[in-house]
């Protein structure tokens, strides 16, 4: 007689013939791994929690014989706000009500009672409905429970879809398919904290397997802050930019564009996928360094600088770092080098219009302008549409007396490049200073000139200070 009443329990009938068809018709349910649930008699189900639909969805995949003996864990103070809802939920699912208060004795007491009497429970270890689509930190209760009842297997279940169908703070549910992935049952031997951690990991793994091939909206690539370090050869700009990248990488993802492409995170260098353009640039750069005269040096160097500028775009696209530190900005270097080649024409006005042309803002510069006569290179670059170089967001110039820098270059013991003589470096330094001034005045780019003769630690500290000031100002500008 008792068995018969169990079969014809109204609760069971409502669950089976009202709730299930309703969920299937309106929302649609896909279950993967249902066989993981079938063979077991006692279990604890853990699942991620995003929505009020979660309990109903989990009940809809339970075997019919377990519907009456399974109890979800729910927070009392949330549901008790509405008397009718509380009664309905209490009748349909017979939850274990948890009072989220400090005073309550043992919060696990109710669950332990049910588990000891052979019933199953459903726990949402995140404790509450978190941010839609994200798995929150697991509470430790589930680990303690698993430690005590080592013979009861734990089934991790991942629900995807409820976070879209009926997320937190939404007024109404929407018909959207729900995918339920049931993982293999687990029995744990370790301590409670380890159990919690490994369960969290398991749910995360399930989530990755489930949502991997779902359509996602492309996020707009964020703009990286470009910091350029200028200076003549031997001013210590390579050292400064490397130190700067390492120091900045404690809180940002930093990419250093120097002779090599280096990527720093957490003050350590990281291996990244090499870029083909970078390899090409390296080869061109090596070739340029072997040039014997300034004339032979010009074209390979220009190619290298253009490639280096192109790499900036690729770095942003593929690695999307927060900060790009440049060892010498291609655009500004190119401009400053004009001083070396065409000294008599070079002045601040010309410098700013050259930058305008090279960055593609040269709409105001007419074709017959005398600048193209003086610098035929600019006309060539414009002709081949290579005038889309990028201006940095901040510039640091390392100023140094050329006589000292020559000594530094000699002490390296490498082969000297063509332009590395004192006379030429003096000109180059002047060129850099003119460029820095015009960049500051014409383009409103923050620029700081640092003394390259002082100690490297001091210089790094002041460069960092400068960067922090600019970073704070950045949102105000944008």
């Amino acid at each position: 007689m008792k068995g018969l009443s169990k079969i014809f329990s109204l609760r069971l009938l409502i669950n089976l013939f009202l709730l299930r068809p309703f969920l299937k018709l309106v929302f649609g349910i896909n279950v993967a791994g249902r066989k993981n649930l079938g063979a077991l008699d006692r279990y604890i189900i853990i699942a991620n929690h995003n929505s009020h639909l979660d309990i109903m969805l989990l009940f809809s995949i339970l075997p019919a014989k377990h519907i009456l003996t399974t109890h979800p864990v729910a927070a009392e103070e949330y549901f008790s706000k509405w008397k009718v809802l509380f009664k309905i939920v209490d009748y349909l699912f017979r939850p274990i009500w948890i009072v989220r208060e400090e005073k309550a004795e043992d919060p696990l007491k109710g669950m332990k009672e049910k588990l000891s009497s052979g019933h199953n429970i459903i726990i949402f270890p995140e404790g509450t409905r978190g941010i839609p689509g994200q798995i929150g930190k697991f509470k430790t209760g589930v680990g303690r429970l698993a430690e005590e009842y080592r013979d009861v297997p734990i089934i991790p279940v991942f629900l995807s879809g409820p976070e879209k169908a009926f997320p937190k703070k939404s007024a109404f549910p929407l018909p959207i398919w729900n995918n339920i992935t049931v993982g293999p049952p687990q029995i744990f031997m370790g301590a409670s904290l380890d159990i919690t951690a490994s369960l969290e990991k398991m749910i995360r793994e399930l989530s990755e397997s489930e949502t991997a091939n779902r359509h996602r909206r492309h996020k707009r690539a964020k703009h990286s802050f470009v910091l350029a370090v200028l200076g003549i050869d031997g001013s210590g700009k390579s050292t400064l930019s490397r130190r700067l990248s390492i120091r900045l990488s404690d809180s940002f993802k930093v990419c250093l564009v120097s002779d090599n492409l280096e990527f720093y995170e957490d003050e350590k260098q990281k291996e990244v996928q090499p870029l083909l353009t970078e390899k090409l640039r390296e080869a061109v750069g090596r070739y340029a360094k072997t040039a014997k005269s300034l004339k032979n040096y010009k074209i390979p160097k220009m190619t290298e600088l253009l490639l280096r500028d192109h790499i900036m775009g690729e770095v942003q696209r593929w690695y999307s770092p927060d900060i790009i530190v440049q060892d010498g900005c291609p655009l500004l270097n190119l401009t400053a080098w004009a001083k070396l080649h065409k000294e008599k024409y070079f002045n601040a006005d010309l410098c700013s219009s050259a930058i305008k042309i090279l960055t593609g803002r040269g709409g105001g510069v007419r074709k017959a302008d005398h600048i193209f006569e003086k610098f035929p290179e600019l006309a060539v670059l414009k002709r081949f549409k290579l005038t889309h170089m990028k201006l940095p967001d901040a510039v640091i110039m390392l100023d140094i007396d050329p006589s000292i820098s020559i000594k530094r270059i000699q002490s390296r013991g490498e082969r000297k490049q063509v332009h590395e003589t004192e006379e030429k470096l003096v000109k180059l330094r002047e060129g850099y200073l003119i460029v820095c001034n015009s960049v500051k005045k014409e383009f409103n780019i923050p620029t700081r000139i640092l003394d390259g003769q002082s100690e490297i630690d001091k210089v790094t500290a002041s460069a960092l200070e400068f960067f922090e000031e600019e970073c704070k100002r950045e949102p105000a500008n944008g």
Binding site: P175, H215, R216
Partner: protein, 291 residues
Amino acid sequence: MFSDMPKTIVVLIFLCLSLFSILKRIFKIKFTYDSYLNYLWTFSLMFVVSETISFKISIWILALLCFVALREYFTLVDIRLQDRWGILGAYLSIPFMIIFIQLDAYGMFIISIPIYAFLVIPFLITLGGKEIEGTLFSIGVIDFGIFLLVYCIGHIGYLSLFSTWMAVMLILNVAVCDFISILMRKRIKPPRHWILPQYFMSAPVIVIITLVLSEWTRIPQLHCIFLGIMIPALVAIGRHTIRYIEKDFGIRRDELVPGKGQVLDSLRSFLYTAPVVFHYIRYFSNKAGGF
């Protein structure tokens, strides 16, 4: 009870399909193109209901089909939290369209979605919240969804209001096109440009079917030939276009599940065919004062 031939044929097809799907359930036969049969069954159910009970009830079966297709579409696209009002609007446009078909309000049916739903849904999206980024994408996605999966499928309903037999002709022709392309895919390794051979294989068959059915559809024979040439081309274009959308969704042909591309995959042949065939028939029947 079934005095005339065509009614008997439709009922027979429906019974065969039902029997087949019941047998499949019992013996658990796995069939690759399961879903095509399911939709064929749904359409035949619709025609049986409209022939034996009433058209007004049968049209709600089409509404259910629209709902299922739209639900799958919204599952696949990435929606923001604040698009929910817009999506609710999209779902609500289905009953309105169905009621206009029931009332034979052609003007309202033809403008309700392209004008009113098209304009109201962006407004609902903007009411949903204050986030601005991605608004254009959401409007595009939701409007495209109802155009494709509600409006285009709705034309089948209006065609069956004209005459159930025209709708039967359309569904049968599209199903035959699908069947031929499945057969060809199984027999021959698909070459690079294989839309053309597929078209030339199916066009004669479709012309013959349309001509045979012309006794009941009452379409003049010249138009039957034109339709027979047109339908396979439209099916090929539709399949080709929707294939791109499916690929963008990340749907793979080997793992079609309801909720993950199965509905869209099965309906894709109808999406381009239904509106064009409907408007073709309507234009020429109006011109000739009714077929």
